[in-house]
């Protein structure tokens, strides 16, 4: 086993374990932190593939921004985990059996015999002055400009739908319109309601 293989298996093991932890841990904050660990280890694996830019972006964007925001939301919300986890144990035997079978089959197929390092070689070593970032920038704006644009459109869809689904005027909100307040006339401020006189009950 070469050193890079060792590094790969080391990080891959942590990645799988932390991913398992994300879906099984009882505490949502723990789950989010384990997800951060999963991101960091996958960044390390990308580093092995000489994709430094992507690895750094993963840490910066996902760990640095997205997950922090996510943790914040998890802490703010009062999620009833007991209700969410209802039925977990009753589904576990069947689900676990299926998962175990699936994993076993995948190990048989993807074991070293068919999909080892020999069949799926890593990228060739690159010269010392090679800039990953520069290459990526060049490709994104030339060869991959079409998928890049579509990805941008997908983000636009996300914005449009997020606004369409969440922005609405709540009926119970005490929304005030300053323009209407300023334009109000004296006659609109007070309304005198005439009511018939009622006699008080005799005691």
């Amino acid at each position: 086993m070469t050193f890079s293989e060792f590094v790969f298996y080391f990080f891959a093991a942590i990645l799988v374990l932390s991913a398992l932890g994300v879906i099984t841990s009882r505490n949502p904050v723990h789950a989010a932190l384990l997800l951060v660990l999963a991101f960091c280890t996958s960044a390390a694996i990308w580093m092995l593939l000489q994709a430094e830019f992507l690895a750094i972006t993963l840490v910066l964007v996902y760990v640095g921004a997205v997950m922090v925001l996510f943790l914040f939301v998890v802490m703010m919300l009062d999620i009833n985990m007991a209700r969410l986890r209802e039925g977990f144990w009753s589904y576990l035997p069947l689900g676990g059996l299926v998962a175990a079978l699936l994993v076993a089959e995948m190990v048989i197929v993807l074991g070293g015999r068919y999909a080892g390092f020999h069949d799926m070689p890593g990228p060739p070593p690159l010269p010392a002055g090679y800039s990953n970032t520069k290459e990526l920038g060049r490709l994104v704006y030339t060869e991959y400009v079409y998928p890049f644009e579509i990805a941008a459109v997908i983000l636009l869809v996300a914005i449009v739908s997020a606004i369409a689904l969440t922005l609405r005027r709540r009926k119970e909100s005490k929304y005030i319109d300053p323009a209407r307040q300023v334009a109000a006339r004296a006659s609109e401020r007070v309304r005198i309601v005439k009511m018939p006189v009622e006699k008080k009950e005799q005691e």
């Binding site: 197929v109 069949d119 079409y146 459109v153 636009l156 869809v157 449009v160 689904l165």
Partner: protein
């Protein structure tokens, strides 16, 4: 080094994207009374894309964007039909969405974005664009289902659709990443070449294939990946159900053709995916048709019938030859035509605060309006596959292809299950003609709706009497594109 990309083949996509952005901005300045402008602009965008696609159509496949975009006759035909389907859906659903507070700019913008996603999928010749197009379509559809946010059924449907759709995308991506690992390329043509020259291990390819077929099965709603279909069809606003059930099926067909037939169509792999598709097709035919009988909700019944129809589509594709693919294309086109009409009828009978989604709502339609009852009769006959409607020819061509490919038993199974299917389509006809109406509200659609639904219903009959031109077009476009 100058880098020039010929944009001409992609003009329809570029035009549509520009129009979506224009509509998005223009809509901001419109009051609710002038929303008709957004509607008109949306129809205009579709019409413009139609003209551009027609003008730039060519029988020779043209690729651009470094081989990530292909413009061949199959894509042109499918795109033209997509525009027509989307425009028809907009006409049908206008009154319906206006009555439910969905007549907003976002609805039209999302429809156009979804259309753009379908166009990207139809014209993709690279796994990356294929996937991005699918995501563009799916994301727009998820939010359209959820647009009626005060309805708990719609929200639940959107949630299910989103979670299962994300799972399916994950499977598809995993399969694609295995393909990339095995072949070192994402381009569909290069993929096919590498596999043809034996540049990849079969075991890994088959492994990738399993995940890809599972992902595709989810997306088209074939058994055993169909769980989301009834809930989404039932829960979504009927206009959105109509949309999901129509044009995206054309894009899904293109997706399967590009990925399975063009990309993974090598000799040793065809046998593998044929087996998987056979299992999916038989199960879809069985479960779709049998479960539909037990439904009292028309939208749920049509959802199960969709599953059955997808089984037929898979039958066409698994024949593994050009005639079979052509038959599959013909089937999906006919299916979209019938689906548009049937959901159009549900929209026709619905009104503000009332959904005509139960079978009883169609009782005695003949007494309320003989013409619409007749149209619905044609559509139901076509769905069931009764001659001389077009549904009969669609089923017939698929069955011929299956028999030619040597799967006689499959054809027998398919016929048996369409007999089962005929029961619930004809039950609706019985309700319309032999029962007393439960609901006596007048049916008074707008003029454009009335004309279009009449054309739609008559088209089912017309193409049934003269199926040759459409069938020949499908066969020819497949032949020159593969």
């Amino acid at each position: 080094m100058p880098y020039i990309t010929p944009l001409l083949p992609a003009y329809p996509e570029v035009f549509l994207l520009v129009m979506v952005c224009v509509i998005l901005v223009v809509d901001l300045f419109l009051s609710d009374d002038h929303r008709i402008v957004t509607y008109a602009l949306t129809q205009l965008a579709l019409a413009g894309a139609l003209v551009l696609t027609y003008v730039t159509a060519s029988a020779e496949p043209v690729t651009t964007f470094s081989g990530m975009f292909v413009d061949d006759l199959m894509s042109d035909v499918l795109k033209l039909l997509t525009y027509i389907g989307v425009a028809t859906m907009l006409v049908y659903s206008r009154a319906y969405i206006a009555a439910r507070g969905l007549y907003r700019g976002e609805f039209f913008v999302l429809v156009l974005f979804a259309t753009l996603g379908m166009m990207v999928m139809i014209s993709a010749s690279h796994l990356l664009t294929l996937y991005l197009g699918l995501e563009l379509l799916s994301l727009s559809l998820y939010s359209m289902v959820a647009l009626q946010r005060d309805s708990p059924v719609a929200t639940e449907a959107a949630m299910k659709y989103f979670v299962l759709g994300a799972l399916a995308s994950g499977m598809l991506l995993y399969g694609m990443s295995m393909l990339y690992g095995a072949t070192g390329t994402l381009g569909i043509a290069q993929l096919a070449d590498t596999i043809f020259y034996g540049g990849a291990r079969d075991v890994v390819l088959v492994f990738a294939l399993v995940f890809i077929v599972a992902g595709l099965g989810f997306k088209i709603g074939a058994v055993p990946f169909h769980m989301w279909v009834p809930d989404v069809y039932h829960g979504a606003p009927t206009a959105v159900t109509l949309f999901i059930g129509s044009a995206p099926k054309l894009a899904a067909f293109a997706f399967i053709m590009r990925l399975l037939v063009q990309g993974l169509g090598a000799e040793q792999l065809v046998g593998e995916w044929q087996q998987m598709l056979i299992v999916m097709a038989v199960l879809s035919l069985a479960i779709g048709n049998v479960t539909a009988i037990a439904q009292t909700n028309l939208k749920r019944m049509l959802a199960y019938s969709t599953i059955g129809h997808m089984g037929y589509l898979l039958l066409g594709i698994l024949s593994g030859n050009l005639t079979g693919y052509g038959a599959g294309m013909f089937y999906v086109v006919v299916y979209v035509l019938m689906n548009l009409g049937t959901f159009g009828m549900i929209l026709l009978l619905s009104r503000s605060g009332f959904e005509a989604e139960n079978l009883e709502d169609f009782k005695g339609l003949n007494q309320r309006s003989p013409w619409y009852a007749f149209l619905m009769l044609l559509l139901m006959f076509s769905m069931a596959g009764v001659p001389p409607t077009v549904g009969f020819y669609a089923k017939l061509t698929v069955l011929q292809a299956v028999i030619n490919a040597g799967y006689v038993w499959l054809a027998v199974v398919a016929v048996l299950f369409s007999l089962v299917g005929a029961f619930y389509y004809l039950r609706l006809v019985r309700l319309m003609y032999f029962d007393a109406p439960a609901d006596t509200a007048p049916i008074a659609p707008r003029g454009d709706f009335r004309i279009l639904i009449s054309l739609n219903g008559l088209a089912v009959l017309l193409f049934g009497i003269l199926p040759e031109p459409l069938l020949a077009l499908c066969l020819y476009s497949i032949q020159v594109s593969l």
